[in-house]
């Protein structure tokens, strides 16, 4: 019996098992969350067993892809009306396997870290549930064969991310920052959904492995590309909408490591990699992608220099690296971007998880080196003093990008809404703040 024969024996629905296992843990933690005493030990065991099982299944799937090549799973239509249908297509290729392996691996690590880090925390079950929801959503994005399926995973990943930023819900700042992240996600996700609708109406196959090359160079491709780039910018914290990322550091360390070191921050890069066949012949769109990526790398690098705490500095570093990956995709270096993504995810996750021990680590390094280390100046240190000061001021305000968005988008929108509200109250004869 050859390896190919063994691989062919594997059932096609195995592709969905890793996401399903993580989904099961989410349901279990939700049920446990309604009990007065959290069965912490049982939840951790379940979480670890399921995470490792998902990882093992993914390894098997990877071996199948290696032997038999990409696999396509078509489960028919979820629903349909007349000519419109919502197909359930899943696609497992090398890119998907790498992303799944990354997701399953880092979730297993984060789950183990959480067992100690959040021991006896009242929100333990909630945290674990959201982490596994994010894992299931990430795997859905990785295996989604249509933009609609990717969107479903994309939204749930964003939801889990927002709820984890607001994890410490007794304080106002995490809640405010979670709302900020939600607004950015919801606004940018419009692009992904618009792209999905346009793909449907272009009469191409909804399967992205077919649709993206088929639509390359078509009249719709520019709008689809713009939508996809907007969505990628939101999730991967690219310029000019990346201001939410440093604020998202209010969440617990394992969630910061998982989302902003490993999974969520790379979702945009993954989306661009998936849609690269569509972007490839479009010089203008690719130039936009490269410019956005490089500008983000610059903003992230410079702003990170002035970050006052370790997690914020890591957030800016992650933003800068994601920017470089986006630029790599724009330049057509897709394999490099994929390798960069995996390497960066592992390194950054490790750094985030070590962040609470940063002082201890610094003391160990200092005692090993026999005193303080000389300051590192890097390239920025070579600049004239005035340029350094200007950059410092810019870094403190994140290059005024938030202020720009506030003035151009948020402010006018809210002013319009308040004007409408005043008009409405006057027309419907409602008091300014009716007690209900």
């Amino acid at each position: 019996m050859t390896a190919a024969d063994v691989a062919e024996l594997l059932p096609p629905w195995l592709d969905l098992v890793p996401a399903g296992l993580h989904g099961l843990v989410t349901v279990a933690t939700m049920v446990a969350g309604f009990r007065k005493v959290t069965p912490e030990r049982a939840l951790v065991s379940l979480s670890l067993v399921m995470s490792v099982a998902a990882l093992l299944v993914t390894v098997v799937l990877g071996a199948r892809v290696e032997v038999l090549g990409p696999a396509r799973l078509d489960l028919g239509n979820w629903f349909h009306v007349g000519e419109y249908h919502f197909p359930l297509i899943f696609l497992l290729d090398a890119q998907g396997v790498v992303t799944m392996l990354l997701g399953c691996g880092v979730v297993a690590i984060a789950a183990r870290f959480t067992a100690t880090y959040l021991h006896k925390d009242p929100g333990f079950a909630r945290f674990l549930g959201l982490v596994h929801l994010a894992a299931a959503a990430h795997l859905t994005v990785a295996t989604g064969g249509t933009l609609d399926i990717i969107f479903m995973g994309w939204e749930l990943l964003g939801l889990a991310s927002v709820l984890l930023v607001a994890f410490f819900q007794d304080r106002d700042a995490p809640v405010r920052n979670a709302f900020r992240a939600l607004v950015t996600y919801r606004a940018c996700d419009i692009g992904l959904l618009m792209a999905a609708v346009l793909v449907h109406f272009s009469h191409a196959s909804p399967d992205i492995s077919v649709a993206m090359p088929a639509l390359a160079g078509s009249p719709e491709s520019a709008m689809i590309g713009v939508g996809l780039i907007l969505a990628a910018c939101g999730k991967s914290a690219q310029v000019p909408v990346g201001g939410w990322l440093p604020r998202a550091m209010e969440g617990p360390t394992p969630s910061s490591a998982l989302f902003y070191g490993a999974l969520s921050i790379h979702a945009g890069v993954l989306l661009l990699l998936r849609s690269f066949p569509l972007l490839e012949p479009h010089e203008v769109l690719r130039t936009v992608v490269v410019l956005v990526g490089l500008l983000t790398a610059l903003v992230g690098t410079v702003s990170g220099q002035a970050a006052a705490d370790n997690k914020n500095a890591l957030a800016y570093a992650a933003m800068a690296q994601a920017g470089l990956m986006v630029a790599e995709v724009g330049l057509g270096w897709t394999t490099l971007a994929l390798v960069h993504m995996v390497g960066h995810a592992m390194l950054r996750m490790g750094q985030f998880l070590r962040a609470p021990s940063a002082l201890h680590d610094a003391h160990v390094i200092h005692s090993g080196a026999g005193g303080h280390l000389p300051p590192t100046q890097g390239l920025l240190g070579a600049l004239p003093q005035s340029a350094q000061l200007a950059l410092y001021r810019l870094s403190l305000t994140e290059f005024h990008l938030d202020g720009f968005l506030q003035r151009v988008v948020v402010g006018p929108t809210l002013r319009l809404a308040r004007l409408l509200d005043r008009l409405d109250r006057a027309l419907t004869r409602q008091p300014a703040d009716p007690q209900g």
Binding site: G33, F34, N77, W78, F79, H80, V81, G82, Y84, F86, D148, F151, M152, E155, L156, L159, V162, L163, A166, Q169, D170, R171, D172, V175, A178, F179, L182, V183, R186, A187, D189, I190, L193, M194, V197, L198, H200, F201, T413, L414, L416, A417, R418, L420, D421, D424, L427, T428, R429, Q430, D433, P434, Q435, G436
Partner: protein, 389 residues
């Protein structure tokens, strides 16, 4: 005339109409069961039952005179003397008057009357004054019920005869989307939970109106599903807000906050209900919005962009309300809720049932979609000009 023929002439028990009627009965029962007693002044229960029954029977009625009577009755049940009669004239009498004048007056007049009647009955922005005022009367639960189950969607099958209405479709669909956009923007800046829910409801009404007026099966099916999905989501949210108001004495966001500490079940269920109402994947509203955005695309791609912006803004508004009320450092001391006053079993059951219905239908939508698609096809065939298209 046999009894069976008479029955067929008077009643329409197609799957979607039956679903509509069953939903009306279930929503009424859930409201009777789960609405806090403090928010139900004397007489409200009787009004609620009467309104629920009239809407349920109205959903199954094909005979225009009976339909007209059942159209007017629920609106009389939400009316209180303080509201003034004038505001109720169009929502109550617009559509019945158009049916009455059908074939007698000029077609343009009946068409305009019919459209205005639909707009006001569905409380599409800015034709929503009567409904928003009703939200601030003791008949608040009845007002929600009357909005939640829209006979207006099914009434579109009884379009008055006359000129080809499909020519009006782009203008009417655009009107619906603009109305939905305005209401979504308004929802984003509300400082009071009832008004926030009201604006979300208006936004849904706008989307439903646009989808119905697109006169195609995809959008029409989406509109009927929205009526079920979004409405049940809003019902769950309104039950949560009623519980907050009953415990704290306020629904003003500035006075609230940190409810998760003393009411964790409420906070969790309100979040899930919000997710369902905002149309996240896995909810019936997600399926409905997907159909609406594809349906209106056939009229113009910009309308789809409008739908996308509306759904995005509604998600933000729902989460803003939930975060301000349930998370954060805490309410003003006067509005503190003591421990042990979380949702009662019947309230938990009511909200939980709504969430379960939305989740099951959202994950397994094919039956719901097919039933509504059949009704939409039958309704559209009865609209002048659509069958010939």
């Amino acid at each position: 005339m046999t009894a069976m023929t008479l029955w067929n002439d008077v009643m329409d028990v197609s799957p979607a109409h039956l679903t509509h009627a069953v939903t009306a009965v279930l929503v009424t029962l859930v409201m009777l069961l789960a609405w806090p007693r403090a928010g139900m002044p004397p007489g409200t229960r009787a009004r609620l039952v009467l309104a629920g029954l009239s809407i349920a029977v109205g959903a199954l009625t094909a005979w225009t005179p009976l339909l007209a009577a059942l159209w007017v009755l629920p609106l009389l049940l939400v009316w209180t003397p303080g509201q003034g009669l004038l505001g109720l004239v169009l929502p109550a009498l617009g559509v019945p008057a158009a049916w009455l004048l059908d074939g007698m007056g000029p077609p343009a007049v009946t068409q305009v009357l019919f459209v205005l009647g639909l707009l006001t009955r569905m409380a599409v922005f800015p034709f929503h004054g009567w409904w928003m005022r009703a939200l601030y009367t003791p008949a608040r639960p009845v007002a929600f019920l009357v909005w939640i189950i829209h006979p207006a969607l099914l009434a579109s099958a009884h379009w008055p005869a006359g000129s080809d209405v499909t020519a009006l479709a782009p203008a009417l669909a655009t009107l619906g989307i603009v109305a939905a956009l305005c209401a979504s923007l308004l929802a984003l800046v509300q400082g009071q939970l009832w008004r926030l829910l009201g604006m979300l409801a208006l936004s849904q009404a706008g989307l439903q109106f646009a989808a119905v007026m697109a006169f195609n099966p995809t959008a029409g099916t989406g509109a009927l599903l929205l009526s079920g999905g979004k409405a049940v989501g809003l019902l769950a949210l309104s039950l949560c807000v009623a519980a907050v108001k009953a415990r704290t004495g306020t629904a003003t966001l500035e006075q609230l906050g940190g409810l998760h500490r003393t009411m964790p079940r409420l906070a969790a269920l309100m979040m899930v209900a919000g997710v369902m109402a905002a149309g996240f994947p896995g909810s019936l509203a997600f399926v409905a919005e997907d159909l609406v955005m594809h349906g209106v695309f056939e009229i113009h791609p910009l309308l789809t962009t409008g739908v996308l912006v509306v759904t995005s803004l509604n998600g933000m508004a729902v989460f803003r309300g939930w975060m301000r009320a349930c998370l954060g450092s805490g309410p003003l001391p006067a509005f503190e809720v003591p421990l042990g006053r979380d949702l009662q079993r019947r309230e938990l059951l009511g909200v939980g049932l709504c969430v379960a219905v939305l989740l099951v239908q959202g994950l397994l939508p094919s039956y719901s979609v097919e039933a509504r698609a059949r009704t939409t096809a039958a309704s559209d065939a009865a609209v002048p000009g659509v069958a010939q298209r």
